[in-house]
Amino acid sequence: MLTFQEIIDNLQSYWEDKGCTKIQPFDMEMGAATFHPATALKAIGIQPWRVVFVQPCRRPSDGRYGQNPNRLQHYYQLQVLIKPNPINSQELFLNSLGAIGINKKFNDIKFIEDDWESPTLGATGLGWEIQCNGMEISQFTYFQQIGGYECKPVSLEITYGLERIATFVQNIESVYDIKIDKSGLTYKDIFLENEKQMSFFNFKYAPKDYLYESFRHFEQNSKILINQKLPIPAYEQCIKASHSFNLLDSRGLVSVSERQAYILRIRSLVQECCKLVIGNDE
């Protein structure tokens, strides 16, 4: 039985063998690995790019005080980005599952239509949510647009939900029972308390006024940096604004209607950043 660490190692080695460079996580709170500049800012432009990395992600509203067997407000995604996408993208992906012991002959691997979009990043792609025996384990996307700009050539983005995959591979029902390594250490030992406390923060104590203020502050900074033609720091401010927004959302402070408006505000900034990146690339 593969441990959590072995699953990560096997996937990374597999993709390294396929020509991807192993890079490290980005040091900011983000809702999904797509926000990592190695994805968001590299999927545009014409230069080839092949990377694999693990990214810790935070989705404050997914916190469940440690009580739900597979919902977490902090979790890990393993992401692969290959530009242009290989001809045999789907086979490569299925073989990568083989590398962690998931065989398509004995498991029902379904490609469920999921025209992925990240409204905040102004990104769209066509692809699938991958289910293994009914459980979503990955996202498989051919990027078509980022920040409103056409991706030419098209990048392939594969995002593995590592905890979900580990529960499947280790044949357990709760993420907290995941064996991290051979020492016997479990996910519970490392993260349960974190989930409990952070859920209190996300749902009850994240400071409301500060969040509104910080969102505006990051938005303003990003605008200033865009005017200075500094897309990388400007984009970092977008990541920060996005996290403030996610906290406002988990605090239940944003209605469904106003949520869209916040998203559009971040998107327009990301779009400006992409415009500058493309300009530099050309």
Binding site: I87, D108, F111, L126, N133, Q144, V154, S255, V256
Partner: protein, 678 residues
């Protein structure tokens, strides 16, 4: 000289919604191609599944037939230049090639042009890339570095006609002789020989090509399970479609979930089963939801334990998540949640959801009042109508907003009509059998407040999309007013809402004119969609109260009238006056200068209508058609017997004033000048 043709585009998973669209588009393109080259064939078939789209043409001509086309030239006695020009444009040097033909008693040169026989395989080869690139996609994609589009990456193209490959390239793939078996099982490479064998080979390799076969196979498995377990054979049709499009070999697997989850409301269980997981749910003979479910997979039954266990545990996790939410949500009653709404921003600058709840509650009462009714005291508890927006369940399942509120209200024992209204308020349409008035009024109130709120906060909605759902909401409330016969004046509603905003100290800086234009445009769109003529709709809408139901009534009556023979006569008579009328209707008419009987009649009719307008609703004109017939008669009588442009300038001007006043008076009733007459 006929032979069969096959085209199979094989690739990565094609979404269910796109499969039929691709088939239809390809059929259309092939038909157009065959028509333009006059290519004959016996029958054309199309198939699609999650991995392939197939066009099969039985007995397709191998070549086009030779046809003789007659090109008419100049008359035989035309000047030489014309004849030379005709010969030059048809690349003829010898005049003797031309024939002569008598047409309508005149003799013309004609050229009989024999078209060359063309080989159909060459035509296909040349046109196939164009056919594939001209699909009317709703969504499509590029991949790699190429620019061709398809729904998902293409892996292989099989294209054979007359036992030979038609070689062409699309999206980097070159056509060949091969197809593939079920991707999830062995994806065996199979050489194509003929269509019957192709179908058999696919079947052998776990591919049911025909959608109907896949559906029948699913149905048979579901029905046999129901018979064995005494369950109702009532299946979700759209789910059968979706599922049969998602696999090529639909094996059904059956699982169950713990009955502890029956504490979740049925709508939530069914939403998770069919919307989130694409599982079938089952009801017993008493129509009670059971704990059994079914999913469909390409895999063979020998793997069933693994599959069922996996799917059951996914369901368990989803249900336990939902259960956690409900337990949390039940800790607080709806009225206790009202204060929580105060912390949720509705739209920036227009306050919180609590502000919105107060406005909705007041709007509902105002609408009842405008309909001449009063809301029952027991039901007048509408501050809770929005309270479910603070629940965990709605945060997790936003599409269940309203339904969750209705469920919690029912659990609290609130009146049924109120629970139903809370539950269904976000529906965009209601069937004709749906009767709960409070639902309609609440639905109109919350959507109207949402639309106005969005315009205040966002100023304008640009582009063709509908990111805030405003366009959809607008059409919905217009539809509700029309279908449920609710005469609501939106200007009055807007003015009332404006006061509510002022009382909440919220600045409202949009003009009614903007909102009015916005609504009128949507009413026109909707009524035209319902089959009314655009000119009739426009004439009935401009200048009248913004009351969708009364506009609809007006359009219905006017539509019937303009189609009737009396209507046609009236419009002809009306056009006579409309053509002569000038901007003189405010001038004074000199009664003593009216001499002729016909102009005196016209003036008398003018007074009569004026009086009616003062006392009655303008719609009387379509309720009492005798007055329209009278207008037709009096107008025709006037124009047939009275000359307007007489020499005496004073009489001429006075008659023009009379005409203008009459026209203006009719326009007050209805703007007939916008109606087109043929």
């Amino acid at each position: 000289m006929m032979s069969d043709f096959i085209l199979e585009i094989y690739g990565e998973e094609i979404p269910s919604s796109a499969q039929l669209l691709i088939e239809k588009s390809l059929l259309g393109s092939f038909n157009d191609l065959f028509k333009s080259f006059e290519i004959k064939y016996e029958r054309i078939f199309s198939y699609s599944s999650s991995r392939r789209v197939v066009i099969f043409i039985k007995a397709l001509s191998k070549q086009t037939s030779s046809t003789i086309k007659e090109i008419r030239g100049p008359r035989t006695n035309a000047n030489q230049n014309a004849i030379n020009g005709f010969m030059k444009s048809n690349k003829i040097t010898n005049k003797k090639i031309l024939d002569k033909k008598e047409i309508n008693g005149k003799l013309y040169f004609v050229l009989l042009k024999k078209s060359n026989v063309k080989k159909v395989d060459i035509i296909l080869q040349k046109n196939l890339p164009e056919i594939l690139s001209s699909i009317g996609w709703i969504k499509s994609m590029r991949w790699g570095s190429n620019n061709d589009r398809w729904i998902r990456p293409i892996k292989n193209i099989l294209c054979v006609f007359d036992k030979k490959v038609i070689k062409f390239n699309y999206a980097g793939v070159t056509s060949n002789f091969y197809t593939f078996g079920n991707y999830n099982i062995n994806e065996k490479k199979i050489k194509f020989t003929d269509f019957q064998k192709y179908k058999k080979d696919l079947q052998k390799n776990k591919v049911k090509l025909d959608r109907t076969d896949r559906k029948k196979y699913i149905m048979a498995q579901l029905e046999s399970y129901c018979t064995k377990n005494s369950l109702k054979k009532d299946f979700n049709e759209s789910l059968i479609d979706r599922v049969s499009n998602s696999v090529e070999w639909p094996n059904a697997f059956f699982g169950s979930f713990s009955s502890e989850y029956f504490e979740l409301p049925d709508f939530l269980i069914e939403n998770i089963l069919s919307d989130k997981q694409d599982y079938f749910s089952f009801k017993d003979m008493k129509n009670k939801l059971t704990n059994k479910f079914c999913f469909v997979s390409n895999l063979e039954k020998k793997n069933k334990n693994n599959l069922i266990k996996g799917n059951q545990s996914v369901l368990k996790a989803r249900f336990s998540d939902a259960k956690f939410f409900i337990q949390e949500d039940k800790k607080k009653k709806l009225h206790e949640r009202i204060d929580d709404l105060n912390h949720i921003v509705f739209y920036e600058k227009i306050g919180s959801l609590l502000h919105r709840s107060h406005r909705i509650s007041n709007l509902v009462n105002e609408i009842y009042k405008s309909l001449g009714m009063k809301l029952d005291k027991k039901l007048n508890n509408l501050l809770i109508s929005n309270a479910d927006l603070s629940t965990e369940l709605v945060k997790e399942f936003p599409n269940l907003q309203g339904r969750v509120g209705g469920f919690l209200a029912t659990q609290e024992g609130l009146p049924k009509s109120l629970c139903t209204a809370i539950s269904d308020q976000y529906n965009y349409e209601f069937p004709s059998s749906y009767k709960n008035l409070l639902t309609f009024v609440l639905s109109i109130a919350q959507k109207f407040d949402g639309i106005v709120g969005c315009f205040i906060s966002k100023k304008k909605i640009s582009g063709s999309g509908d990111p805030f759902g405003v366009r959809r909401s607008t059409l919905s409330i217009i539809k509700i007013c029309i279908e449920k016969k609710l005469g609501i004046n939106f200007l009055n509603l807007f003015n009332y809402l404006k006061e509510l905003y002022v009382n909440q100290r919220i600045e409202i800086d949009i003009e009614y004119k903007f909102l009015d234009d916005y609504f009128r445009k949507r009413i026109i769109i909707l009524l035209v969609e319902l089959g009314f003529r655009q000119d009739v709709v426009k004439s009935s809408i401009l200048g009248y109260d913004l009351n969708p139901y009364s506009i609809f009534q007006r359009v219905s009556k006017l539509s019937a009238f303009v189609k009737s023979s009396d209507g046609k006569k009236f419009l002809r008579a009306y056009k006579r006056i409309d053509a002569l009328a000038e901007d003189l209707h405010i001038e004074n008419l000199q009664s003593n200068m009216l001499i002729e009987a016909e102009e005196l009649n016209l003036n008398r009719l003018l007074q009569e209508i004026d009086k009616k307008i003062k006392n009655k609703d303008k719609n009387f004109i379509f309720d009492d058609q005798s007055i329209l017939n009278k207008i037709t008669f009096v107008l025709n009588d006037f124009f047939d017997n009275v000359t307007v442009n007489v020499e005496d300038a004073r009489i001429k001007r006075n008659r023009k004033i009379l005409i203008s006043k009459f026209n203006s008076c009719i326009k007050n009733l209805h703007n007939f000048s916008l109606i087109e007459t043929k």
